[in-house]
Symmetry: C2
Subunit: 897 residues, 2 copies
């Protein structure tokens, strides 16, 4: 990089399209400045500056510093104050801001430029010494914490102490002399930092820029980027802007508002503010702010101006905006605007409404809703009766702010370790949350705070994550040291049950029953998904093994069953008996008696299967149902070998009844003979079909019989037979020959020559590599992406996650968990080969995917790009897949243009 590279951009030089270079915050500040909105004067250090800083081993490039000083001069001129001037000092804010919003993850420093001299100048100029001292103590606190790594808790202790001494409820009630004392003690704490507290304003600025850059790589920022899949090499920009003050008295204030309700999508200004405060007081949740509606009566002019600016910003950016504002002595400033994080419900409503308002097109609406988040709409609600009972029993602890929707029954977790221990079942309970609590929030299933408003950290973050949250339930006291929550004498300890209703804000002790969400009543969603159905090319099927699941899938909009697994059908006790009889007697097939038992067991299983298939085919009447023949290895139908060994050892040592011992020995022998070192790579699926054809034949007979029954009853069953685990052409030919022969006979027996589609899973790497040869023998391929991922990576899903896969993902050795999102390098490439060569071998080949990736938007996008005909996913993911398929199709169009 040469010295001529430009690192600093005045707001007037930038615009909203420069997010890469200026970060989201800087780009939008520039855009607002260009639009003539009341933005304080300022400039942005670009991400190029960050990269050069990183390249120089965390040193500010000299040319960057020169540019900053020049730009600062212009700010001084615009404001009419000079930076570091003891009489009338310019103060600035130094804020982080990367391309993608990472709320609260990185650091910012405000009120920069204060020292013992300038604070008096500020007091004089503002004619308000209390304000100047308040600003000074804020500066010391934040700067020492961010730039000098001082202990943040000690500052809070000093403030609490000062409030107690002064008998004040609020920092705003501290007097000048209280604040002088606070500042003195703050300086002492700051002096324990990593370097001396700088008094020179320029030194402060230089250190602050460095600290903001460095905050890109703090652990919580890294964790957040991992979670959100934000690349680590983007870096952050730094916005430097003249301070405006919301803490200059009752005609001042600061707040946050959304142009629409980010929780529900309702079209009305939504937000809150604090009089006589600086922005961090709102966001941190330390003080519970007032609803934005009260601003209308308190400061009508500022309110009206805010409504006007909010409307213009939304129209300009054509999206729901999240706006920070400050009112300084009655004058409104906009300090930030960005697309607002919202719940899935709000995202759907906003998108559909905006189409109605002519603000965006249908395609844009479809792209506005993160497909993955649609599953949030399926968050359960509390059962009304159960909730009423709980209230009657006196278990209602209170009602806080319904910050993020969803109902959660779980376990009280007060610190991060508890949240980690209980995982999804944890309900994290904190006085308030900050960026430091991010790891715990990511682990927990829901969040409850006693302080903070609907734009507090806890609220914003949980809405973004789609986790239920209730905030600002001031009735409760959270004792973090003792790990207890108390309210009116009721004490809940860590580990106790608690329930929170994110729809209503109610909080209960104990558990409450939940009921599944009913999305059919959401008209906006229905409309959006109808648009999606028009836009998408991929067909969406569901994986379902029971008539109930099939019906549910159909209600969610599935166009068929892409995978009906037959093994689960055998695990009910009355069926397991027969399959065990079959297995035990197949081992001694020489005797006639054994043969008889074997045949009878098969016949019983055939009756069960016929009725299974009839039920599913009826539920999906008129739509295809892909029935996968038995895939599981036979040993799964016997008791686990370890328990047999243990019981047998005990029975022998204790001289148990001989007959019992003999039976256990026989079971153990059978289990051992079926046991495998690596069952995943074992004798199952097509391999069983080849070596033990009776089972597949039984299943095919059952499919034919179920089909005939339904046809006779005037229905339109559409079964397709799928063979799992095949690895090559000869195997498929061999299986097909057997089943075709059988099908011919059955077709004749049953009075009509049924033509049933026949296909194979492609889930073994070799099958993908032999797809061109397999294709002419089948009607369809269905990619079993779960097993294909296991074999392509050599990962055993049962073990990998815990043993090393999580580590790999967290350390970016894998960009994502390949069991969640298709790995395009390996698995995806095999699929591409199979698609291309399969189609070449059989032009009418139908191609689908039925692994769990079918419900993952990125994987759906891949499936679209690679040219599959359908994806099949679990019923609750059908809506996700429909939307993702539409987004893929629209994205494809965009890519094509």
């Amino acid at each position: 990089m040469t010295t001529t590279t430009r690192f600093v951009y005045r707001f007037r030089d930038g615009d909203a399209g420069m997010r890469d270079l200026l970060g989201g915050k800087g780009a939008n500040l520039s855009e607002m400045a260009r639009l003539g909105l009341p933005v304080p004067p300022g400039f942005v250090i670009s991400t190029d500056g960050f990269r050069e800083f990183a390249r120089l081993d965390q040193q500010l490039p000299e040319s960057l510093w020169q540019e900053v000083q020049e730009a600062l001069k212009e700010v001084e001129e615009a404001v009419g104050r000079r930076f570091g001037d003891p009489d009338n000092p310019l103060l600035v804010s130094v804020r982080s801001g990367s391309k993608f919003s990472m709320p609260g993850m990185m650091d910012s420093i405000l009120n920069l430029g204060l020292n013992d001299e300038t604070v008096e100048g500020l007091a004089k100029a503002a004619n308000d010494r209390r304000f100047a001292l308040d600003s000074y103590r804020r500066f010391i606190q934040l700067f020492a914490k961010v730039a000098l790594q001082a202990d943040a808790e000690r500052f809070e202790e000093v403030l609490t102490d000062a409030r107690t001494k002064a008998g004040a409820n609020d920092d705003a009630d501290l007097s000048e002399s209280d604040l002088e004392d606070v500042i003195r003690r703050f300086k002492e704490i700051a002096s324990t930092g990593t370097e001396p507290f700088p008094t020179d304003a320029r030194d402060q600025l230089r250190i602050a820029i460095r600290a903001v850059f460095e905050s890109w790589t703090n652990p919580r920022a890294i964790a957040y980027r991992n979670h959100q899949h934000i690349p680590h090499d983007l870096g952050t920009a730094v916005s430097i802007m003249a301070m405006v003050f919301g803490n200059t008295g009752p005609r001042s204030g600061t707040g946050v508002c959304f142009t629409r309700n980010p929780s529900t999508g309702e079209r009305a200004l939504f937000g809150e503010y604090l009089p006589n405060a600086q922005g961090e007081d709102v966001v941190s949740g330390v003080r519970t702010p007032k609803p934005i509606s009260e601003l209308e009566s308190e400061m009508p002019d500022s309110y009206n101006a805010l409504v006007e600016h909010a409307k213009n910003l939304e129209n300009h950016f054509r999206d729901l905006q999240d706006i920070e504002f400050t009112i300084e002595n009655g004058r409104l400033f906009i300090l930030q605007t960005r697309s607002g994080k919202r719940t899935a419900m709000a995202a759907v409503k906003t998108a559909v409404d905006m189409v109605g308002e002519g603000l965006i097109s249908r395609d844009e609406a479809l792209l506005r809703v993160p497909a993955d988040e649609l599953s949030q709409l399926l968050l359960p609600r509390f059962d009304d009766e159960s909730k009423e009972r709980a209230a009657k029993d006196g278990r209602l602890l209170g009602k806080g702010l319904n910050a993020s929707p969803g109902a959660a029954t779980g376990i009280v977790a007060i610190d991060g370790d508890d949240a980690e221990r209980y995982g999804e079942r944890a309900i994290l309970v904190r006085p308030e949350t900050s960026a430091d609590d991010m790891p715990a929030i990511l682990k927990a299933g829901a969040v409850l705070t006693s302080r903070g408003g609907i734009t507090s950290h806890a609220a914003v973050v949980t809405r973004g994550l789609g986790k239920p949250a209730v905030v600002g339930l001031s009735a409760i006291h959270v004792d973090t040291k003792r790990g207890e929550v108390s309210v009116d004498g009721i004490v809940l300890k860590t580990g106790d049950a608690i329930s929170i209703d994110g729809f209503t804000g109610e909080v209960f002790s104990g558990t409450i029953d939940t009921v599944p969400a009913d999305i059919s009543s959401n008209d906006d969603l229905r409309e959006l998904l109808e648009w999606a159905d028009e836009a998408r090319r991929l067909e969406i099927r569901a994986n379902a093994d029971t008539p109930e699941d099939a019906a549910r899938a159909r209600a969610f909009g599935a166009h068929g069953i892409g995978l009906c697994r037959t093994e689960h059908m055998f695990f009910q006790e009355e069926r397991l008996v027969h399959i065990r009889e079959m297995l035990m007697n197949a081992r001694h097939e020489s005797t006639e008696a054994a043969n008889g038992v074997y045949e009878n067991a098969l016949k019983s299983l055939e009756e069960y299967q016929t009725s299974d298939f009839r039920g599913i085919l009826e539920a999906m009447d008129g739509l295809p149902v892909v029935i996968r023949l038995l895939d599981a290895p036979l040993h799964e139908f016997l008791p686990p070998i370890e328990s047999l060994i243990e019981n047998l050892a005990i029975a022998r040592v204790t001289n148990g009844p001989e007959a019992e011992v003999r039976e256990m020995e026989e079971l153990l022998e059978a289990a051992r003979s079926l046991a495998e070192t690596n069952p995943m790579l074992g004798h199952r699926g097509s391999r069983l079909g080849v070596t033990n054809p009776d089972i597949y034949e039984m299943q095919v007979r059952a499919i034919f019989r179920a089909t005939k029954d339904l046809i006779d009853a005037g229905k339109d069953p559409q079964p397709e037979i799928m063979v799992p685990l095949v690895m090559g052409e000869a195997e498929v030919k061999s299986l097909k020959a057997g089943l075709t022969e059988l099908a011919k006979g059955l077709g004749e027996d049953l009075g009509r020559p049924a033509r049933i589609h026949f296909g194979t899973m492609i889930e073994v790497p070799r099958a993908a590599l032999d797809a061109g040869a397999i294709a002419p023998h089948v009607d369809f391929f269905s990619f079993g992406s779960n097993d294909l991922t296991q074999m392509t990576f050599g990962f055993s899903r049962d073990d990998a996650e815990e043993k090393f896969l999580r580590y790999y993902v967290e350390n970016e050795i894998l960009p994502r968990n390949p069991f969640e999102t298709i790995d395009e390098t390996g698995v995806g490439r095999l699929i591409e080969i199979a698609v291309k060569e399969g189609r070449k071998g059989n032009a009418s080949l139908q191609l689908g995917l039925c692994g769990e990736h079918g419900g993952d938007p990125l994987s759906v996008d891949f499936c679209h790009r690679v040219g599959l005909d359908y994806v099949s996913c679990s019923p609750p993911r059908v809506a996700v897949a429909r939307l993702a398929a539409a987004q893929a199709a629209i994205g494809q169009t965009e890519r094509d243009v």
Copy 2:
């Protein structure tokens, strides 16, 4: 196929190049006829005829039959007799013969054209009624067995009975009236066949042709083709030829000879004959024939003619010939010639000698020796002392014919089931063997017969298979019904130990120690392998884990170690202790004591490893040694979980000592925490290297230390470090970064900046697919074809073989066992992708293969074609790989031309 297709070829129309169409036998008969050798007149029905026959559901095409009749007319004219003529009948032989020699596997019928009338005409014409009757009984016996599925044993019983009555030793001693009686009884047996015995000569011929065609698909032929990897769709031709008779009296005879010794390669006519007999008497081993040398004195003219023809045939075909001949009243006929099956020792000697004789080129010599069979040269010999001791103890049972070399100590197996049960350890003991014994011979490790000569079925087959055999040990009596072998009052039962020396013909009861073969004394082999080294492009390395193996590999001509596995090094008891200490204490790493134990254990292991590596590097001084870092999952170093469960259950029930129970519980807990559902796909190899870097670092330190020690001692160690199981670029980068850092430090510590090659196994399908990205970070790839096969197929090697893989291979669902020969469709394609893209990513990338396929000639050929730099195989396979690599290179040249 149209009616104009030609199915029949006169001998004069064919030549040796037409093996596809005429089969080996027919093509060579044609060639001999063209050369003017004394071949009886005849013709061949081509394999096109076979295919048309198969297409018509086992019916002879009418045009084929017409052609046969026309050709037969010409034979009649040439011989001067007419087929079916009651006065002077032409008899013919109808023989099978496919492209590849399948000795004894298919059927032939001789003496065809006889019935109650023509037999008298033959008697009159030959002026020898006894001969005519003998021919008739042979015809009935063979035709009824082959074409009518009559019970073959009953014929033998009649003959035995007749000999007993007549007091004859030999069928040749039966009188006319004895034979008349035999014929009468034979006809009775024949009448129990599947259809009436045809008396019309043309009916006989038609049925015989059909039966020969059908014998292509008899079970033993199918089994043989599976074993020899001969395609099942080639089909057989049928040769029809005028009969000449070796059974017309003392001036007649029949025999088989090899132009060189097929056991040793010695250059001298080798063979045997029977006077007054037909060919099957020699081959079947029913009568023990005379050495060919005796023919010189008995029938000098015929002998001299035979020597002359043999020499001409060998010169013409430029290969060792296996010749069948018949002498009819002093006139010599050649009935067949083919390349003789030979032992590996003979193949090597013959090939090298023929180069010396100017008969063939070096390239031809290299192609003449089946590379796979070189491993036969490593067949063990008996330890001289042990043999002497056995002889002194009276355990020498006798000395038979040394039909096929090698020494075998094993278990007496008398029927096929026993051979199957004992497998390689079985020594099959039979009176004689026939094609029906083929499955048992394939299973058994060696063969012993009481009857038959060095060209008998047992001898020919075992030489072809490279299994030791002693035949014609007439001192022993084999009682197949009781499953016993007896000699001089000593009785060995099925299951008893027996030892046979195929080098000397000696047979002992009990076991005898064996010693490995020493190939260094085989000058011919050394010369051949030197030519191979000049011809090949692939480098040959060996897989070796100990200094002893390394030295052995070097002696076999390995140019380095391609795979040094480090896990086996930990399994000695004194090391296992340390690795267990390490594992148990890594689990509680919070305590300082545990940390200390852990560190000490690692240090101890480092000392062991340093000495391990020093030994191997020293043994391979100056040659590369690829050291694979730990690959095994850690649970392999703990006791098996099943035994822990069992012992713990017992200890608990029996109130065992508390401390013991607690220790077992702790071990079980550790074992459980390390246990995996699918260890093959588990937490091992690079995955351990990433999550538990201490072990890899310990190993790398040991490699550096060993290297330094040797350099200091003036040696030239060339270690290369290889990481197993990687699956992608980021993983390789991560591992390399850690090891490079360490290596840098070590290089400095040890006083010289060592540059050690760093590479990865490619054994996970995804690694092959990401090879282009991995390549720039490494010096070499080594394809781990074992694991790559497991993952590409989804086969667990531990289980697959027995559960389904054998079935798959036997039923042609897989052409070969992919763990023996690389599957080119799947595994091979992944290798090709990795080679191509790896080289593109790193032009200087070195490419090798170190799975067991490295010693398989077909796989070596693949490795050559795909452009690898080396293969690495087990030390005993090094010679095989050297030759195979040469053959691949020569083949490549041929393919290029």
